[in-house]
Symmetry: C2
Subunit: 282 residues, 2 copies
C-alpha cells in the first residue's frame, strides 16, 4: 500500500509527498491541522491542507525570516512574532543572547500544542524564559499593545482565512506605530511565480512601501512551498539591510546557520527582473 | 474529464500539472519525447517523462545559462552548445550581434524537430545564419573537433541516459582543451536539495575544479524542476565571474532580460551555507 499527501498548490498544479503515516488530524475553530510522517521530509505540518513546515527544510524559512534583520541591527532587544505557531522562528531568535524579550502572538493554540507534541525540532524553545505566548489575534494585538518592539516578524499563512488581516494597511500601520526608531518589520510575502501568489505579493509590498521609509523584498529557495520561490518583505524606519548591516558584529556572535550567511544576505536582495518589475510597477 | 501530467521527481515526490492536451508523443533511439499543452505553463516538452522546458519559465533557465558568461566576457565570438535541443540557449546567444559562430551539438534530432514544430518560442533562432547544427554525440564532438571556442554551454539532461557522459572527467577535460585562453564553461549542475541530484552536483563540481583554475556554482529559481532550486557551474581558465565582469559594457548592449540582471549576476553566486559546504567538502 502507498499513501500520498497531495497538495493542490494552484488550480493547475499539485505537489505530492509519499507518506509513511498520518500522525495527527484535528480541527480548531480556525483551521484543519494535520501532521504526517514521510521518508523524504521527515514529519510535516499542514494547515487547511497547505504545507507549513517540514523537518527537512524548515531551517531555510526560519533562517531567512530571522537572521537578515538580526544582522542588520545587532542591538535588537525586543521582538514580536505574529503567527509562527510551530515555534521555529522563536527558536532562531532565542539563539541571540542579547535579545531580552520575545512575544509570540499565535491565533491558534492548537498549532502550538500540536507542534510541541510532533515537531520538537521547531517548538523546543517556546519555553525559553524570554518568550511570552499570546493566543490571540495578531491584528488586535498590534492595535492594542503599549509595548515598543525593535523587530516584528510576521510569520503568517497565506492571506486567506486567519492570515488575511495580516496583509492589510491597517495592520502594517500598527506595526509601524509600535516599532522603535530603528525598528524593522519582516513579513511573509508570498511568491512571484503563480498569479494567485504574486497578486498578494504585489498588494502587500504596495501597502508597506506607503508606510515605511525603507521597503525591500528578498528571496529564498523553499522547495515545499508552491514554485519553491518564496519572498520576505524587509521594511524599516531607518536601517537599510545592505548599507547598514555589520557582518563583523554578526560573525562575532558565532551563530552557525545552515542556509543564511553574509554573502547570501546581500545576494538574496538581488531579485530577477520580472519580480523587481512587478514590485516597482505597483 | 481532467487530464494530469505527473512527474515522479524522486521516489518520494511527485509534481503534477493539469493539461489540456497531449500534443505529441514519440520515441527516438535515445528517449521518449512528449509535448503537452497546459493552462498554467503553456506548452511543455518532456524527455523520458522528465520536464525539460515550459513556455512559462524557459526564460529563467535560458537567461541564466547564457548571460552570466556573456557578461563576464563581452568579447566571446565562438560558442559551442552541447545539448539544448529545444533551441532556447541558442536563441539567447543570437541576441549578441558580436557572436560570430554558434555550433550546437544535439544527440537527438527528434528533440529539435519536435521543438521546431511545437515550441517556436525556444526554437525560432535555430536558423540564424551563424548557427550550425550537429546531430551527434557531444562527448565525441569535443574529443574530435579542431575548433577553438570562447564559451561552451552544456545544456544537458540529468546524468542518466544520453546525458550521462556529459558529467565525466574526460568530457570536462576535452572542453578545457578546446577553449580559448579566456574560455568559459557553463554546465547544467543539478540541484542541492534532493540527495539523488545533490550527489551529481557534488561529483560534477569535484571533477571540474580539478581541471579549471576557476570553478564556481550559481543558483536560480526553476519552479518546474525538482525542488525548484537549480544550479549551473561556471568554470574558466582565467576570468572570474564577479571580479572580471564589466556591467557597463553588458548594459550598453541593450539586451533586455526577464530574469537576469547585473545585481542578480552577483547575487546568484551567493549560495546557502549547506550548498557551499557540500561543494567545499568534495
Amino acid at each position: 500500500m502507498e499513501l500520498w499527501y497531495t497538495e493542490q498548490q494552484t488550480d493547475e498544479v499539485r505537489f505530492s509527498i509519499k507518506v509513511k503515516q498520518h500522525l495527527y488530524t484535528g480541527k480548531s475553530e480556525f483551521q484543519d491541522v494535520d501532521v504526517f510522517e514521510s521518508e523524504e521530509f521527515g514529519k510535516f505540518l499542514t494547515l487547511d491542507g497547505l504545507m507549513m513546515v517540514t523537518e527537512k527544510d524548515e531551517f531555510i524559512y526560519h533562517d531567512m525570516i530571522t537572521h537578515v534583520a538580526m544582522a542588520t541591527n545587532p542591538s535588537i532587544k525586543k521582538v514580536l512574532v505574529i503567527g509562527g505557531g510551530d515555534g521555529g522562528t522563536v527558536r532562531e531568535l532565542t539563539r541571540y543572547s542579547h535579545i531580552e524579550k520575545i512575544d509570540m502572538v499565535e491565533i491558534d493554540k492548537l498549532v502550538v500544542d500540536v507542534s510541541r507534541e510532533y515537531l520538537p525540532i521547531t517548538a523546543s524553545k517556546l519555553d525559553d524564559p524570554r518568550v511570552s505566548l499570546y493566543f490571540e489575534d495578531g491584528i488586535r494585538f498590534v492595535a492594542d499593545t503599549k509595548e515598543v518592539y525593535d523587530l516584528i516578524l510576521v510569520d503568517s499563512t497565506d492571506p486567506i482565512g486567519p492570515g488575511e488581516g495580516l496583509f492589510t494597511t491597517e495592520f502594517y500601520q500598527n506595526c509601524f506605530n509600535i516599532l522603535s526608531d530603528n525598528g524593522i518589520l519582516v513579513n511573509q510575502s508570498e511568491s512571484p511565480y503563480y498569479d494567485q501568489f504574486s497578486h498578494e505579493m504585489k498588494r502587500a509590498h504596495k501597502k508597506i512601501k506607503n508606510i515605511f521609509p525603507i521597503s525591500k523584498v528578498y528571496q529564498f529557495h523553499m522547495p515545499t512551498y508552491p514554485s519553491g520561490h518564496w519572498l520576505f518583505g524587509f521594511a524599516s524606519k531607518k536601517l537599510d539591510p545592505i548599507k547598514d548591516v555589520d557582518f563583523d558584529k554578526w560573525n562575532a556572535l558565532g551563530i552557525k546557520t545552515k542556509y543564511y550567511n553574509p554573502q547570501l544576505h546581500v545576494g538574496c536582495f538581488a531579485l530577477p527582473s520580472y519580480v523587481q518589475e512587478m514590485l516597482d510597477n505597483e
